[in-house]
């Protein structure tokens, strides 16, 4: 080992241990979050609250997975909802038609999603941003119209009815509300942790570089197309997980799960919470669901209210809530560096 190399390993070592430390910290936070969520039923008997958390899990997984594309890679997908719908429908159909156990259907759905996302991604990810946004949207509409027109298989505009069978496995009975709640929380926390690992990995930093300067990344020998395709498929898997949680929760699947508005909502969630922090979409999810629940209680024209709120965030704050808070803290910490 030359002197130069020795010096380099020394310089690298603290970074390595820092990354490991951060990973332990993430796992610790995840464990605490899971413990808090899991102990919630002990303190409250409110079914509405638990339902709310389950819905947050489904949408949170979905929205955070979109952030992998939008925030980390700079791929503005406007059709990400297709994988949410695909997950819900594949899972529901496998459970209804094949009668396998839930983990098998879960893995099978992820496999189906990976294949579909691989094909769609291979076509889409080489397109420029606006083309990418709309071609993903077109694929979403293709899946939606397939669901609507293939009524004998998918139930058409009525959706998958008759309930999804939820046989018990390994002592977990998802027909039981508490079990379903704990399982949703576990999936959410595991999914978030996995996505955090992806975002903080060398691959995650490659994605950021592609976002900031794809040409430069390409010059440095990175296969940009392959990296984008990989993250597209990974994000689709987590969106599909969200869809499965939703299908389990409502015990069915509806064409609205695959409609473009789902993608619009996910983008809005990201915007609402902020795309520059990992947990921004999670904050956005809670905000949007709270907003939706309160607004629909007061008015039937919730489009107007939602639209005005979106405008406030897009034209007023110009960033998400968590971004706003993070910037505010950064500014307070060193006031000399006002932006």
């Amino acid at each position: 080992m030359t002197e130069l190399e020795a010096g380099r390993t020394q310089a690298l070592a603290p970074v390595q241990s820092g990354a490991a430390l951060r990973r332990y910290r993430d796992v610790l936070i995840a464990l605490i979050a899971f413990a808090v969520l899991a102990s919630l039923p002990l303190f409250t008997g409110s079914k509405a609250l638990l339902d709310f958390v389950i819905r947050c899990s489904a949408y949170g997984l979905f929205a955070t997975s979109l952030n992998l594309l939008v925030g980390y890679t700079g791929l503005t997908s406007f059709g990400h909802g297709m994988f949410f719908g695909l997950g819900a429908y594949s899972f529901g159909l496998i459970m209804q038609k094949l009668g396998v156990s839930i983990p098998v259907a879960f893995v099978a759905t992820l496999a189906i999603t990976a294949v579909v996302a691989g094909v769609i991604g291979a076509i889409c990810v080489r397109l420029k941003e606006i083309y990418f946004a709309f071609v993903t949207l077109a694929f979403q509409m293709l899946i939606h119209s397939t669901i609507l027109s293939w009524a004998s298989f998918t139930g058409g505009d009525q959706g998958l009815r008759g309930g999804i069978p939820r046989p018990a496995f390994l002592g977990i009975n998802l027909a039981n509300h508490i079990h379903l709640y704990i399982a949703s929380c576990a999936l959410l926390i595991l999914g978030l942790l996995a996505m955090r690992q992806i975002a903080q990995s060398p691959f995650g930093y490659t994605l950021r570089m592609i976002r900031d300067n794809a040409a430069r990344a390409s010059f440095l020998g990175i296969d940009v197309w392959r990296a984008k395709l990989t993250v597209f498929v990974l994000a689709a898997l987590f969106a599909s997980m969200g869809g499965m949680v939703m299908a389990l929760f409502v015990s069915g699947a509806y064409p609205e799960f695959a409609y473009w508005t789902i993608s619009g909502e996910a983008i809005f969630i990201n915007m609402l919470g902020g795309v520059s922090t990992f947990l921004g979409p999670m904050v956005g999810t809670v905000l949007l669901l709270l907003l939706n629940d309160t607004v629909t209680r007061f008015t039937e024209y919730h489009g107007i209210v939602l639209g005005v709120v979106i405008l406030f965030f897009a034209l007023g704050l110009r960033k998400g809530l968590l971004d706003f808070v993070a910037d505010w803290f950064a500014q307070r910490r060193d006031p000399g560096e006002g932006r």
Binding site: A138, L142, S149, F313, R318
Partner: protein
Amino acid sequence: MDLDALAGCLSSSACLVTQTTSGLIIGMLLFLVAVGLTLIFGVLKVVNFSHGAFYMFGAYFAMTAYQLTGSFALAMLAGAAGTAILGLIFERVFMSRVYGADVLMQLLVCYAFVLIFDDVVRIIWGPEFKAMGMPAAFQVMPLFIAGGVVPPYYLLLIGVALVAAIVLGIGLSRSRIGKVIRAAAHNPGMVSALGINTGLIYGGVFALGGMLAGLAGALAAPVRSLTPGMGFSVLIESFIVTVIGGMGSILGALIGALLLGLIRSFGSLGFPLFTEGLMYLFMVIVLVSKPTGLFGKEAA
């Protein structure tokens, strides 16, 4: 799938004429919407995701004007002028704030307006399906061309759209205003430095795009049912048109729209359940073989 019906139609001149004209009117309406979209994108570099709303407003404005005055010409005028004014306000007050911002921001502002506009229509005109009805002047015997039935209104519709296409094409390439617009699309800073008000041009182009979509809505009002949210499927289809034809190309929009219209009308015979799927499939094929669209520039 019903390939026999498709083959049967292709071998009969009557059916061929009927399906072709219905394909042409779908295509022409799509062209009017898509050309506005492509024009706005070409000059302002934003995708007007709320463009479908202008189509919807055009149809509703025309219906109201027709019910008030009973004049078809006034109805068309109301549809076109109303949406032009709407477009101008929308661009100056809201869209002009997000130029240069990332695509996400532009999409969001437009998404907000899709939600707002749909609800506004629901409040003013009600959520139910509405019909404008065919004006009396066109309630005459349909023409028979080679055995196929062609309602006279279809001819008017195709004629108006063709005139719009020609005026637009010549206006952009020959007139002074057209040249200024193309210059602004190419290099807005330079145009501004030469003492031309680019804000006015941007507003004008957006108003023009909105007007074309409004005109399409007004023309479609007698033959389509009106409902809040009617703009969205048109938006998606006109986006497919611009992707197929190439963003920013007027000729591309025309060819793409006509192709899509014909795919729709003949596809509904052969693949009644998968007509929409055929359009997406066609788009994918074009994109895979030529990512910038049929008439798009390589650097796009």
